[in-house]
């Protein structure tokens, strides 16, 4: 899918975006900038399956914030401030998101224009203070007891009940997007797939699709099938791991240790297909790098075996009354809020949002091959667990089906040495967490000037903060696990 830029003046942008999001099929993809002198708004239409890129030229470094009207702009506008020094006027709670106190206040890593008029000279971060009788705060993190990535959670509680949760990320900002513009484009895939390492297949695929759309080339049919199999294997492995995590958090040891073992089996599928358990270096622009022809029949058998092994464990998990009781009506996100905040992936589909990028945007064999989409409407931990279980089973079926359908043929389409000039490439992929977007801009010489990544977690972190409200403190870890968000995917 090749993108066209449409010029949209600042006054019209707010109106157009509001209208777009009011349409039942309108979605906000991402908001960013190329070099700080314009705003880029990527909007998606899931009826016509198209994406539009609006460019709004800016004078100076201020623009009218859309957050008060469209709450899902919240984190995008904070990132714009951090990376480009663009200040949204009227943003209700403007805070730093990626760059912390230790960074210099006049450092705007992606801005190419000189900034003079930046507000607060210090990068202080203020948590929302809840005051009143008996309200107390629990600070958790950024260093946690488990081997997870850093984030700070500030709970304002009344007894055992969470009143407000504020999540602060940005502790692992690595400058991935900047780095992507510095390396030669043929090496970009190694950086892109490491953006979030548990999503390496999806990130590599989004990168490949974006580059192919710049070049207006397509991967070979065989490569498309192998790419989809790879994506589904990643989904299977991560869903197993997340379900095991849910079981572990409620002390259901039998299920969590079985899941840990079965995840290993899923990773073995990945090794058969790509030669790497974490699917590194497999998908690349033009096709795939590893020829797994001789392993495909073994892959099919192992998938069927995994399906058989999973069945009793999942039944045991769901048939336990106490386990259901722990998950029911916990961490509820209402469909209304899920739509307003643009929640994606399992979280969105647990709250009545039927959006799945595999049904709309071209990547691998999708959307020509349509997987079965599962939508639940309770919006609680159990709904998300049920969506995961159903998707897990569908993905296993899909892997077998795709292996059977994989055509013979070349693995790679030959690629030119240079990218086309003045183009925008976009790759929209349904990773195991949800919609993942890579947006690439080239200048007139074909050099990449801006590489923006929107991880699904960017949408869903807000969902977690909302879901935690009025729940018990001791249920938060379970709620958190049911969202299964990525820290590094957010802190690019």
């Amino acid at each position: 899918m090749r993108l066209q830029r449409a010029l949209l003046p600042a006054q019209e942008r707010a109106e157009q975006l509001t209208q777009w999001l009011h349409k039942p099929h309108g979605r906000l993809g991402l908001i960013t900038s190329i070099d700080g002198s314009q705003l880029i708004t990527l909007v998606l239409d899931t009826e016509t399956n198209t994406a539009n890129c609006w460019e709004t030229p800016l004078e100076g470094n201020r623009y009218q914030s859309l957050t008060p009207v469209t709450p899902q702009c919240h984190w995008f506008e904070r990132n714009l401030w951090d990376l480009f020094g663009l200040v949204p006027d009227g943003h209700p709670r403007l805070k730093h998101n990626l760059l912390h106190e230790s960074y210099s206040p006049d450092l705007f890593p992606l801005s190419k224009t000189v900034q003079h008029d930046y507000p607060p000279a210090e990068k202080t971060y203020r948590f929302l203070e809840v005051t009143g009788d008996g309200v107390y705060e629990i600070p958790v993190g950024p260093i946690h007891a488990g081997i997870i990535e850093p984030a700070h959670f500030r709970f304002s509680c009344l007894g055992e009940i969470i009143f407000n949760l504020e999540i602060r990320l940005g502790y692992v900002h690595r400058g991935v997007e900047k780095r992507l513009c510095e390396v030669p484009w043929k090496n970009q895939r190694f950086v892109a797939e490491a953006a979030a390492s548990d999503t390496s297949s999806a990130n590599a695929l989004a990168h490949a699709v974006a580059i192919e759309s710049i070049l207006d080339l397509a991967a070979t049919p065989r490569a498309n099938f192998l790419r989809s199999i790879s994506l589904e294997i990643e989904r299977v492995a991560m869903h197993i791991s997340d379900l095991g995590g849910l079981a572990g958090d409620i002390g259901f040891l039998g299920v969590s240790s079985s899941m840990a073992r079965l995840r290993g089996n899923a990773l073995r599928l990945a090794e058969l297909l790509t030669g790497s358990r974490l699917q590194r270096g497999f998908i690349c622009p033009g096709g795939v790098t590893y020829d797994s022809s001789e392993h495909l029949s073994q892959l099919r058998e192992s998938t069927l075996l995994l399906q058989k092994d999973l069945k009793p464990v999942l039944e045991f998990f769901l048939s336990n009354q106490v386990a259901r009781d722990r998950m029911e009506r916990i961490g509820v996100v209402s469909p209304r809020l899920a739509k307003d905040f643009g929640l994606v992936g399992v979280t969105g589909r647990g709250s009545e949002q039927s959006y799945d990028a595999r049904g709309h945007f071209s990547h691998g064999v999708y959307p020509e091959v349509r997987p079965i989409f599962i939508v639940k409407n309770d919006g609680d931990v159990l709904a998300r667990a049920n969506v995961r279980i159903a998707e897990l089973q569908n993905s296993l079926n899909l892997i077998v089906e795709l292996v059977d359908l994989t055509p013979e043929g070349a693995l790679m389409t030959p690629m030119p040495d240079k990218l086309s000039g003045d183009q925008i490439g976009v790759g929209i992929v349904e990773s195991h967490r949800g919609e993942l977007i890579h947006l690439v801009f080239t200048d007139q010489h074909g050099a990449v000037v801006r590489y923006a990544i929107k991880d699904p977690s960017t949408n869903n972190w807000t969902g977690l903060a909302i879901a935690a409200r009025s729940n018990l403190v001791s249920d938060f870890p379970l709620c958190n696990k049911s969202f299964a968000l990525s820290y590094s995917g957010h802190d690019l």
């Binding site: 629990i138 488990g146 259901f252 106490v322 722990r326």
Partner: protein, 312 residues
């Protein structure tokens, strides 16, 4: 004289070994049920030695209470283990009033709570608040059961109640079974084990006992861990004593066989706890009173039997 010496020897050995072996057995059972090989039975001892050799970090806001609490707790539990007839063989000890014992337990809890609050960490504070709530709920269960036994045998001295010469309770299996069950259920709460608290979790926000001792380290932590395990042995031991007295035949057996039954009983309970913890799912915080209600019901029934027995 010789028997007294042997009793002391056995008692000291039990105090040292029982906590380690019981903890090891629970962990081993859990591991085997998850198809893992698991750590050796004596791993808890190795852990304690390792902890004791480690340096210690104490929060700069902590007062003397923080370090003293663990020692007070240990002395307390050692005293309890001497007074309470949790082994069928016991050296000489002064009369142990059941109210004294119940509130000795409460005293060691108070110091654990104070130590948790002392560091000013949010985790310690809410762990303490949870522990206080739980102990408030569970106290009637343990107390009522013991009082029922005391009322039937017309004494409040635990030694007297549990002695094999006390014939008031010899032909009364129901009350023993009920009190034994009440003690084991309330000890799961008291010891923060599943389904109340998950001892294997790393999630601070869900913890009760572990949240209180998060700030402890090194030798301090070793003392706390040992105290906790000893407390578990005493409580499990006490329920084993109840269960074995439910069989009238046991009363006439020679002491050495009673001792063996005690050891087998302790290991069985440890394994049963291990099996239960592998299958159980941790209860939601709001559901815990329902679980405690089972323990209270057992004690209430025992009390009813005691009252009925008094009338007859």
């Amino acid at each position: 004289m010789i028997t007294e010496l042997i009793h002391w020897l056995f008692f000291l050995l039990s105090v040292l070994l029982a906590p380690i072996v019981i903890l090891g057995t629970i962990r081993k059972t859990k591991a085997r049920l998850q198809a893992r090989r698991g750590a050796p039975i004596l791993q808890a001892a190795f852990d304690l030695i390792r902890l004791a050799q480690k340096g210690e970090t104490v929060s700069s806001t902590a007062s003397w209470i923080f370090r003293a609490a663990s020692t007070i707790g240990l002395c307390n539990v050692l005293l309890i283990s001497w007074l309470v007839p949790w082994l069928s063989f016991a050296p000489w000890a002064p009369p142990a009033d059941l109210f004294l014992v119940v509130y000795l337990f409460a005293m060691s809890r108070i110091f654990t709570l104070l130590a948790a609050l002392d560091t000013g960490s949010a985790f310690g504070a809410f762990g303490a608040s949870r522990e206080a709530t739980l102990s408030l709920l569970v106290e009637p269960a343990a107390l009522l059961g013991l009082v029922a036994l005391g009322a039937t045998s017309r004494t409040s001295d635990l030694r007297e109640i549990f002695s094999f010469t006390n014939t008031h309770l010899q032909m009364n299996p129901a009350i023993w079974l009920l009190v034994g069950t009440a003690i084991i259920l309330s000890s799961l709460v008291e010891l923060s084990r599943m389904p109340i608290d998950d001892p294997t979790t790393h999630l601070e926000l869900t913890m009760v006992h572990e949240a209180m001792i998060l700030e402890a380290s090194g030798r301090n932590l070793a003392i706390i861990e040992f105290t906790h395990a000893l407390r578990m042995s005493v409580l499990f031991g006490l329920s084993v004593q109840c269960f074995m007295r439910a069989a009238p035949a046991v009363w006439k057996l020679p002491e050495i066989i009673q001792a063996m039954i005690t050891i087998i009983g302790l290991l069985t309970i440890a394994m049963a706890v291990g099996v239960f913890e592998s299958l159980a799912v941790k209860l939601q915080w709001r559901r815990i009173p329902e679980f405690i209600a089972y323990a209270i019901t057992m004690s209430l029934l025992a009390a009813l039997i005691a009252v009925a027995g008094g009338i007859v």
